[in-house]
Symmetry: D2
Subunit: 342 residues, 4 copies
């Protein structure tokens, strides 16, 4: 069976490069086109940008031509993965949608649009129904912010069983979350940088959408403190959570061990949750690659004297938290027969 | 007027070196003796240890002789500052006390002893009355853990005005907090290390003692997450606090601006609180030296949708959080005429 | 005696901020005007830029008005310190010179101009004679690259006594050397970055100019490897040097100890050279502030089996290597009566 | 065909863990026994030590029993890989040899013994002949220091074609090179640490042995500067080399491209040399895993005005520079029929 060719929008950035890695040997999809800004269009990919991930780009990629982000120039493609900066994404993603594309985006431009699904496959696959509320043949599907993803994954089984009421969240976030060049080295060397962008605001609304219904977000409250630290990849998150029904550490562990999304998608890891027992884990440099970067590591699950339960969660922010999130959404759409045919 | 000579216990360690710096040009005190382990006793200080702080040790220190931690060998001294490791501190500090010494300690050995004051001058100077419950002429006075100090300082005016009920606390702690050699570089390079020692446990009890009466700790609850990050000095702390009476960010700022301990001690900074307005401050590398390392930087004071109020606090962990804490307690004792005379 | 007011060009950048610090309490000079790009002109300094150095800007600076880099708009000033980016410096510095200004610059724009002195006061003050070859009343004086300064300082006494023939140089350079935002944190976290800009090329020509006569550079050869590492401030330099007359480590130490520039300028430290004896020194974080950032730390002076002599040098790259270099040149000009009078 | 069981000495340390990884799925060898200090003997491996490498230990390892480093207790084994600290290695490795073991060691204890081969398979496999000069059935084979390995590999083809005369070498070395706990985080955060151990001394003698004959080291001179930087893994090395016959950058590149050791061993990568073209490569975090950690990355090959030729080399210090070095020597011995049979 031939693979479905996919256009990658924003192909030259940090997440774009992770998308290229993710599609390189994908069983269902292939790279149909690499799109970037006007400035890069017409160049070889190897000219248009510097490969900034460890190791080499997948074979052949450096010689692919870069296209402008124009659906009219891409021929028969009908599926796009977007890693565009949000400012540029608004117009471009709308244009691709209008041209009949399924746009599966990591950008935040449409995350708050009530007709655009904000989806993590294991959490709220049923939200895909929202695409019917979008006009025309095309649609946009988004994934959440890089911190909201491991947070919502960790909370999903707890919310079902115990009902989440409120969260205090703190983060130790990696510099790759700011893209490239992102944070200045001057700000990060021997330092930490509070408030990376608007993550605290996103964390205050996205988890509720993910854990709610298509039409109504869940009702809990989130208070987040997001701090960038001098790690390359991997966001560590402290969660202190109050639930309607009391949830002991053992009950939480049981909920995570018993969690099964029922989904069989190529990028989804088994197990989803790595439950770490040492009291100084998870750690970014040691634990981010579990499940090929798609697992969520959980540790230090304890009674919280203020909120009831507390634990740490860790995930690879540009894989599970960005490129892998979009790819798993793309796989989900394909598995449900929702991708447009050419 | 001649200065009071002080013995420094644990003089070769990270905090011991900060004590030496702090006494180098002190208007009231001088270094009377440097004490360390048996292994170092008899050596010149410059032989016994490597100076690990930026710059040079104060003039003359390298040539001072190191003594064993034995009150009998120190002649007429009656005052000691202790930066000993807690395991060794238990026996040694008791012995100095039994010899009539005022032992002003940064070690945790006696912090939980109900007859030993746990004091921050601006917070609970009146707890010094506890020394009367100790046997004999000598006594031990301690200061809290390096995170508990900025936390209790920041909370003190809020507790008085609004009544603290509960706290969620997260930390981004510097490696100097683990002493030397402390954390392995392998654990910290491009990484963060959750759970540095037993800080979470200390943060769960020390703030209540500080903000309570001599006989009864304050009744609030603390849930802390302590994580070591790759900074040299300076602990950043996120505080999410619930108060009995509602406290708005403006009321909190007003409380901090209006706070006056009434104390005039050489090491205490004016102002105590540096209220930073930029949303990415305080930052360890930029803000730790405010008030010669004795000020507390506060920032991002906001409504917390879960707890009511949230903010960041930052202080220099081996100055305000350790050596400077002990020295300010020593100054407090002297200002109250509580130091033993020779 | 009233202080001479000085315009600071490029006042909002990393080196510009160091210039402001350097003039804040200067005995001879005051800040006459702060100049920056058109975009910033008309704003208060505190609006136009973020203060990125540790601690607070000097009192009053945040409220000073920022001017465009236009000599016509600055009134009676006749002296400028420039920390402009080199691309912009070419036209602006020429314009200030044409208006009769003494322009004392840290930019590289005119460093290779044979009529523009490239000066370190202790090394080649006599090169100031070149200003007579510049047209009109004004002139430009430059200082070398941040690595060339400690290198030339360390070599100066050796060159006089032994004659430098060739050098192999390697650097461990701090991120502040790239300005702000400078290096991306992604490139520096848990990483090193070879080839920071065109430093290797500058190191291949500037030391010879400094150690030569006004008309002829010294004849030695330099091969440099420049690598950025994850330090905030302070360039560590390894020097392996071949001299005409053999130079033993002891002879080198004697030469450095005996070196006396004969200059008494406010910013120049005494001693200039800090000769460190421990085999793991100098270290950036511990040794950069020696001599208020203006001293050069030297260590590990040994026989080099290939070149003859080897040692490490360290200096603060944005103080001794940039802002302090320009300020000491300004002091030198004033001490020689070479500044234009209003 | 059944795999040859191998005892791992020093199995709990940083390099010991890399040895375990390296043997986990090895086509020729299996883990026959894990040995460590008396203190650990009798415990499960998972109790005796903390796994400190990214990800999980290979399946089953955590439950293996740890043995004392005593050949009498290991039954029928006859092959040992040693990652012991050098101080302990001297006696233990001799004892295993006396018991008839082939001891393939990463320790430095016997590296300077003229009857003990110091070998890199691609460089000087013929030195294995030295084992005949050792007494009894057993023997010891060593690999060089972690910096000497990429250095000698890079020099091997140049030495053959052009004759190496002298080298100036500088390093930017990772903290894993010091083992665990190794360097203190206080020394490495926002800092660099000159002189890591005795690497400079080792680099002054090991390359000559590697590139010489069994009986006579090569005659060139090495002057090394070794500095630890805040990277986790990967030693970057700057090489400035003088050759008897001139060697241009193109000739060097040609020599590396044309190099073929003729060996087909499971751990040896093809190609051995990754020739990187970007001027800011190789970089530790991006390039260490090339060739599964066994390749050497080379870059910035240029004319050196002082020495003739210069370039950067990078290799993974605990894989190619330690555990992988020993394993490839073990493979080499097996491929030559030199391992003792049980």
């Amino acid at each position: 069976m031939s693979k479905i060719p996919v256009a990658i929008l924003g192909a030259t950035g940090m997440v774009g490069q992770r998308l290229i890695q993710g599609l390189a040997d994908h069983p269902w999809f292939s790279i149909g086109a690499l799109c970037a800004s006007e400035r890069s269009a017409g160049q070889r990919y190897g000219q248009a940008c510097v490969w900034r991930l460890p190791g080499e780009p997948p074979p052949g990629v450096q010689d692919m031509q870069v296209h402008a982000s124009d659906p009219g120039a891409l021929g028969e493609l009908r599926v796009a993965l977007s890693a565009m900066p949000s400012s540029a994404a608004r117009a471009v993603e709308a244009e691709f949608r209008a041209s009949g594309y399924a746009v599966v985006s990591n950008a935040s431009a449409y995350r708050e649009d009530p007709s655009v699904p904000l989806v993590i496959p294991e959490v709220n696959a049923h939200h895909l129904g929202l695409i019917n509320r979008q006009p025309g043949q095309g649609y946009i599907v988004t994934n959440p912010n890089c911190c909201a993803i491991p947070l919502a994954l960790a909370l999903a089984p707890l919310h079902r069983a115990f009902g989440v009421e409120a969260l205090c969240v703190s983060t130790w976030q990696a510099v790759s979350g700011a893209g490239y060049p992102g944070e200045s080295a001057w700000d990060m060397v021997g330092n930490v940088h509070p408030h990376p962008g608007d993550e605290e605001e996103k964390l205050a609304i996205e988890p509720q959408r993910l854990l709610g219904s298509m039409d109504a977000p869940a009702a809990f409250t989130v208070s987040a403190r997001c701090v960038r630290v001098a790690t390359a990849d991997g966001h560590l998150i402290s969660v202190q959570v109050r639930t309607e029904k009391p949830c002991t550490p053992n009950q939480a562990l049981e909920a995570w061990r018993g969690f099964d999304s029922g989904l069989e998608l190529p990028s989804l890891p088994k197990p989803l949750f790595h439950l770490l027992e040492r009291r100084d884990r998870p750690q970014p440099r040691l634990d981010i690659d579990r499940g090929r970067g798609m697992a969520v590591s959980l540790g230090r699950v304890q009674v919280c004297p203020v909120m009831g339960l507390k634990f740490y969660a860790l995930a690879h922010n540009t894989v599970r938290g960005a490129a892998g999130a979009a790819i798993s959404n793309l796989e989900l759409l394909q598995s449900q027969g929702l991708l447009p045919s050419v």
